[in-house]
C-alpha cells in the first residue's frame, strides 16, 4: 500500500488523469464461488453502465477497484495506477455510493455529509459549506437538519450520493443508485448523475435496471458470472448488427405477398409480421436499399418506412447473458 496519503502533508491529490479504469484477467473467488472469472474490461471516461444480473460480480468488481477486496489474480489500474500498489491513492480520488444502507442514522444529513467530507481530508471550514452545496444539489432541503433515521429511501439515496461527491472526486462509483426509489425519484437521480457527468467526471454506474442505464449511459459493460460478456458504446451495442433494418410496407394482400417473397429471396429476412394490410419486415440488407424500393414499385406496394432496427438494451442484455 502506498502510505504517502496517510502521513499527512501531501496536500491534495492529482486531479488529472484519473478517469480510466482497466481490468485485465481479474480473478476473485469467495471460497468455491468464482465472483470474477478472468474479467477484462476497459472503462472509458463518461457515464459507464456496469450491467449484470444479481450476483454477476458488479459490486465485487467495484470493491476490487477500491481495494476493499483483493483479487487472487489479474490487474486493475485506475488512471494508470495499480489498484494493489496504490490502493490508498486510488481511494482518495474516488467517490463511492454503496448499494446497501450505509448511513449513520443518528446523524443529520448535513452532519453526515460534512463529517465524511472531513474524513476525506477536507477542513471543517471547507466541509460544512460544501456539504450544504451538495445537499442543495441532490435536492435535500430543510430535511438535512433531521436525523437520517427519519428519511425515506429516496432521501437516503440522495444523501448517499451527496457523501460520495462532497470531496469532488473525478471518478464516481455508484452501486445501484436508483435502488428502492419511486419512478419520479429514479428519474431525478438519473438527472443528477447526468449533471455530475457534465462536470467532466467519470461515473461507473452499476445496475440491473436496464431502462435507467439506457437513459444515462454512454458506454455499457455487461457482465455475467464474473465475465464481461459485452462491452462498447451504447450506440454500437444497440445497433450491433450492421445493416439490420425495419421495413414497413402497405398494400393489398395480393401485392404484398410477392413483395415479401422477393424480400425473402433477395435479402436476409429475420422476421415478418402482417396486420391490416401493413407488413413489417426486419431484415439485413444484402445490397443497396434502392433495389427494395424498385421492387416495391413494381409490385405496387407502398414503402412507408425503412429504418435502422435498433435493439433495446434489454434485447442486447438477454442476448449477452
Amino acid at each position: 500500500m502506498n502510505d504517502a496519503l496517510m502521513t499527512g502533508g501531501q496536500g491534495d491529490v492529482d486531479k488529472g488523469a484519473e478517469g480510466n479504469v482497466t481490468a485485465k484477467d481479474v480473478v476473485m473467488r469467495y471460497g468455491n464461488i468464482m465472483a470474477l472469472d478472468h474479467l477484462s474490461m476497459e472503462i472509458p471516461t463518461g457515464i459507464v453502465g456496469l450491467l449484470g444480473p444479481n450476483g454477476a460480480g458488479k459490486s465485487t468488481f467495484i470493491k476490487a477497484v477500491l481495494g476493499l477486496v483483493e483479487p487472487q489474480g489479474g490487474t486493475i489500474t485506475v488512471g494508470g495506477l495499480d489498484s494493489r500498489q496504490n490502493v490508498l491513492t486510488i481511494r482518495d480520488k474516488v467517490g463511492y455510493m454503496p448499494e446497501h444502507d450505509c448511513l449513520v442514522e443518528v446523524m443529520t444529513g448535513v452532519e453526515l455529509v460534512s463529517y465524511f467530507g472531513m474524513i476525506s481530508g477536507m477542513s471543517k471550514n471547507d466541509s460544512i459549506p460544501r456539504s450544504h452545496e451538495v445537499l442543495d444539489f441532490v435536492g435535500i432541503g430543510e430535511e438535512r437538519y433531521r436525523p437520517i433515521s427519519s428519511y425515506s429511501t429516496g432521501m437516503k439515496q440522495r444523501v448517499k450520493l451527496a457523501q460520495a461527491i462532497v470531496h469532488d472526486p473525478n471518478l464516481l462509483f455508484l452501486d445501484e443508485p436508483t435502488n428502492g426509489m419511486d419512478p419520479l425519484g429514479r428519474e431525478e437521480m438519473l438527472d443528477l448523475i447526468e449533471r455530475i457527468a457534465a462536470g467532466h467526471k467519470s461515473i461507473l454506474v452499476s445496475s440491473h435496471i436496464l431502462q435507467d442505464m439506457e437513459r444515462v449511459c454512454e458506454h455499457v459493460i455487461i457482465i455475467n458470472n464474473g465475465r464481461a460478456v459485452a462491452q462498447g458504446s451504447l450506440k454500437n451495442l444497440l445497433g450491433a448488427q450492421e445493416g439490420r433494418m425495419k421495413l414497413v410496407a402497405r398494400g393489398v394482400p395480393e401485392d404484398l405477398a410477392p413483395f415479401v417473397k422477393y424480400l425473402e429471396r433477395e435479402q436476409r429476412v429475420i422476421s415478418t409480421s402482417e396486420e391490416h394490410g401493413q407488413v413489417t419486415v426486419v431484415l439485413i440488407l444484402r445490397g443497396p436499399s434502392g433495389d427494395i424500393f424498385a421492387a416495391a414499385k413494381n409490385a405496387g406496394v407502398q414503402v412507408r418506412s425503412l429504418t435502422a432496427d435498433l435493439s433495446t438494451l434489454e434485447e442486447v442484455f438477454i442476448r449477452s447473458v
Binding site: 491534495d12 476493499l68 491513492t89 452545496e133 461527491i165 470531496h167 431525478e188
Partner: protein, 273 residues
C-alpha cells in the same frame, strides 16, 4: 423535496487534513457520547459518589499534605470499579457495533482511511469520554487536597499527584480495549453493552471463587488487577505470593489482544455487504 435545476459545482479547494482524520472521528465520538443522557447520568452520579465526597472530606479535614493513603482509599473503592465498568460499557458498546449495523464502516474505509486510523480515532474518542470520570476527577482530588494542605511539603504532594496521573491513565484505558473488541463482535449495541459488563463481572466472580486456592487467581478479576496496579504505582507492597509477572501478563491480555482482534474484525468487516 424535489430537484431545482442546479448545475453541479466542482469544489475548488485543497484537501490537506488527511493526517488529522482520526481526530475527526475522535471529536465525533466525544460529541456523540456527550449527548447520551444515560452516560452523562452515570458520570455525574459516579463523580458525586466516588470523587466529590472524598474531595470535600479530605480537603475540609485537617491534613499536612496529600498522601498515598488518601488516593489509594479513593481509587481502591469498589464503587469506583462499578461506575468505571458501567461507564466503559456505555461508552464502548456502540463504537464499532453501530458502524457494523449500518454498514457505515465502508464509508470510512473506501476513503483511504487506514483501519488502524479508524480504530485509533474510536479508541481516543472512548478514552476522552472515559477521562471525564477516570482522569480529571482524581487529578482534581489531588490538586484540591494539595491546595488545602497545612504542611509545607508540597514536593511530597506533587509526587503523589504524579503517581495519581499514572493511576488515572491506567484506569482510563483499562476497560476500553476489551469494550472495543466486544463491540466489534455484534451489530447490536445493547448486546455489546451487556456483554462488556458481564465479561468483567464474570471474571470478578470467577476470580473470587478460585482465589481461595491460590491468591494469583485474584488477577482474573479486573478490579483486583487494577487495585494491585494502584499498589504498585503508589509504592505499596504487594500481598505475599502474588506474581508480578501474572499482573503484567493479565494486563497485557486485557489490553493488547483485544485491540488486535478489533483491528482484524474491522479489516474483515470493512468490505461491507
Amino acid at each position: 423535496m424535489g430537484l431545482d435545476p442546479i448545475r453541479y459545482k466542482p469544489w475548488i479547494g485543497q484537501r490537506t487534513e488527511h493526517a488529522k482524520r482520526f481526530l475527526v472521528i475522535t471529536d465525533h465520538v466525544f460529541r456523540h457520547k456527550l449527548r447520551s443522557k444515560w452516560l452523562l447520568g452515570i458520570i455525574v452520579l459516579g463523580s458525586i459518589l466516588v470523587w466529590v465526597f472524598p474531595i470535600l472530606i479530605f480537603s475540609l479535614s485537617p491534613h499536612d499534605s496529600l498522601t498515598t493513603e488518601m488516593m489509594l482509599e479513593t481509587l481502591q473503592n469498589d464503587l469506583l470499579f462499578i461506575f468505571v465498568l458501567i461507564a466503559a460499557s456505555l461508552v464502548c458498546a456502540d463504537l464499532i457495533s453501530e458502524d457494523l449495523r449500518g454498514n457505515s464502516l465502508v464509508l470510512y474505509l473506501y476513503r483511504a482511511l487506514r483501519p488502524e486510523r479508524y480504530l485509533l480515532g474510536k479508541v481516543l474518542g472512548a478514552l476522552l469520554v472515559m477521562s471525564l470520570f477516570t482522569f480529571i476527577p482524581p487529578i482534581a482530588l489531588g490538586i484540591a487536597v494539595t491546595a488545602t494542605q497545612t504542611g509545607p511539603d508540597y514536593a511530597a504532594s506533587a509526587e503523589v499527584i504524579a503517581r495519581t496521573v499514572l493511576a488515572a491513565v491506567l484506569t482510563t484505558i483499562f476497560f476500553v480495549p476489551m469494550g472495543m473488541m466486544l463491540s466489534s463482535f455484534t451489530t447490536k449495541r445493547t448486546y455489546a453493552a451487556v456483554g462488556i459488563f458481564m465479561f468483567f463481572f464474570t471474571m470478578t466472580i470467577v476470580a473470587g471463587i478460585f482465589s481461595e486456592s491460590d491468591i494469583n487467581w485474584q488477577l482474573l478479576g479486573p478490579g483486583n488487577l487494577l487495585n494491585y496496579w494502584y499498589d504498585v504505582i503508589f509504592g505499596e507492597t504487594l500481598p505475599k505470593g502474588l506474581s508480578s509477572a501474572g499482573i503484567a501478563i493479565m494486563t497485557f491480555l486485557l489490553l493488547v489482544p483485544p485491540l488486535m482482534v478489533t483491528y482484524w474484525r474491522i479489516l474483515s468487516k470493512g468490505v461491507g455487504k
